[in-house]
């Protein structure tokens, strides 16, 4: 049984339908990437899974339970943590407080604690008393990832974590992935950077206009297939 799956997931904002029957599967221990252009529905998919958007109860299943209708705080408590697009750090909290608040709804013992998060991103320990928003973009992204890890999640959702960051910083951040996987989390990584997505993932889904247009292991994909799935079949 898959750890997390969506079945015929549809989502809409008022009159605008953003997802048209999306099926994705995440097996335990796996990392999947979701790629696609702006407006493809990647972030909507993430917001649906983490509970910020309500869906049909049975359209999202986690660990055998239908979670489509649950609120974000209930889903977080079950072990799905989110690194939201744009980091969304709490401006009135320090770096350390941002990390601590990450375990508010799920304070369970596990690999991840302040100590191990500081071990993963040592720069955060130096800056732990700074206001979170005083950090550089890359450091803020580290805080956002650390904050999600603090709850020792079973599934980690990463929405556009490389957006707006320098390539060298992106490499630093992705260097954390093996330890995150080793600690027992399965990952869904949303990326616009196709090269990065193919490197990190066991399987890749490509989305366009609210539908999955291509899926498979990175080795199976040709540049042309990705190009077609990303932008639509060549006219």
């Amino acid at each position: 049984m898959a750890l997390l799956e969506t079945r015929n997931l549809t989502a809409r904002y008022g009159d605008f339908q953003a997802l048209f029957g999306v099926d994705i599967v995440l097996e335990a221990g796996e990392t999947i990437s979701i790629i696609g252009a702006n407006g493809a529905g990647k972030t909507t998919l993430m917001r649906s899974i983490c509970g910020l958007l309500a869906n049909q109860p049975d359209s999202i299943r986690f660990d055998g339970r239908a979670i489509g209708r649950l609120a974000a705080d209930e889903i977080m408590a079950m072990g799905i943590a989110m690194v939201p697009e744009g980091r969304k750090l709490f401006a009135s909290l320090s770096v350390e407080e941002n990390l601590l608040v990450g375990r508010y709804g799920r304070a369970i013992a596990g690999h991840w604690s302040l100590e191990t998060v500081y071990g993963l991103f040592p720069i955060l320990k130096e800056r732990r008393h700074s206001p979170a928003t005083a950090l550089s973009g890359g450091q803020q992204q580290m805080v956002a990832i650390g904050r999600a890890l603090m709850s020792n999640p079973r599934v980690l959702l990463c929405d556009e974590i490389s957006l707006g960051l320098a390539p060298v910083v992106i490499r630093d951040i992705y260097r954390a992935v093996p330890e995150i996987k080793a600690a027992g989390a399965s990952l869904i990584v949303v990326e616009q950077d196709i090269g990065q997505a193919l490197r990190v993932a066991d399987r890749v889904y490509c989305m366009m206009e609210g539908r999955v247009t291509l899926s498979g292991t990175p080795a199976e994909f040709s540049r042309e297939a990705i190009h077609d799935a990303y932008f639509g079949a060549a006219a």
């Binding site: 009135s92 909290l93 709804g105 799920r106």
Partner: protein, 287 residues
């Protein structure tokens, strides 16, 4: 010396205004909600204490200890079943609802307790005073100010030293991201209002013991409280205490010049601070 004495009395009076304001400051800081019935809830709590005291003959201080948990539960329920339904991007619905609550409360109190002025029995403590180097300070004003300082310290401890306080601030920053941390914003709002109602009960004790009250004095208490919060800067508890002190000092100085100027002087001080520091004395860095 007489001026120093006047200012000192004003500072102590400011403690009472800070108690009126602390609950308002907390609720505004967490959920950007201005409860227009705040003053009326203080008056209602004073009647609750009065009822307990007259029915059982217990001390008002003991009555507060018993009333506080009940008022926490009441505030929690008010937030959960009423205010959470109207809170949102639009600031108008909660203002209208709490304005309506204010009208309803005043009339319920008028029906139940009549328009007669009441006072909480405070015994010999109300006239006791301490002589400190030639200045007489009333025990009751000192107790009020001390309670205000304790309340402000307690709020700061909760806000900046506990997991609940982190959840308060995170929810205030961004409720939807807070829910990704497993925080249920509606539940956090209910706890904040519950704590505010505990402070309302403490404020009611000193309101009722220091002066007489009737069902219609709530809105004026709200205005003092609101001015203290604004002077201090939204979201700063020490600022709220400072705001209360500024209004208190302005009022006693005003009344020393001319007794008719007491209330006016407080409002003028408020306007002057707004003129010079539109965001208050200690605004939070982030809004």
């Amino acid at each position: 010396m007489i001026w120093f004495d006047t200012i000192l009395q004003g500072v102590l009076l400011g403690g009472l205004y800070a108690l009126f304001a602390a609950g308002l400051s907390l609720v505004f800081g967490v959920m950007r909600l201005v409860n227009l019935a705040h003053g009326d809830f203080i008056v209602a709590a004073a009647y609750l204490i009065l009822l307990m005291v007259t029915m059982t003959g217990m001390s008002p201080f003991l009555a507060v200890l018993i009333a506080a948990p009940a008022m926490f539960a009441f505030g929690w329920a008010l937030q959960t079943f009423m205010l959470n339904r109207v809170i949102g991007d639009d600031v108008l619905p909660p203002l209208l609802v709490t304005f309506g609550l204010s009208v309803v409360l005043q009339n319920v109190l008028l029906e139940s307790f009549s328009a007669d002025s009441q006072r909480l029995p405070s015994g010999p403590i109300s006239t006791a005073s301490l002589n400190l180097g030639g200045i007489n300070l009333g025990v009751m004003p000192l107790l009020t100010f001390g309670s205000a300082v304790v309340v402000i310290i307690a709020l700061n401890q909760i806000f900046y030293r506990t997991a609940l306080g982190r959840a308060f601030r995170a929810t205030s920053d961004d409720p939807s991201t807070a829910s990704l941390m497993g925080i249920r914003p509606a539940g956090i709002f209910a706890i904040a209002t519950g704590i505010a109602f505990v402070i309302v009960t403490i404020a009611a004790l000193y309101l009722g013991m220091r002066s007489s009250f009737d069902p219609n004095i709530g809105p004026a208490r709200l205005i003092y409280a609101f001015e203290a919060v604004i002077i201090g800067g939204l979201g700063s508890f020490w600022g709220t205490l400072a705001g209360g002190v500024i209004i208190g000092v302005a009022q006693t100085l005003g009344s020393a010049v001319n007794p008719e100027w007491q209330i006016l002087a407080g409002h003028v001080a408020f306007l002057l601070v707004l003129l010079v520091r539109p965001r208050g004395l200690f605004p939070r860095a982030v809004d």
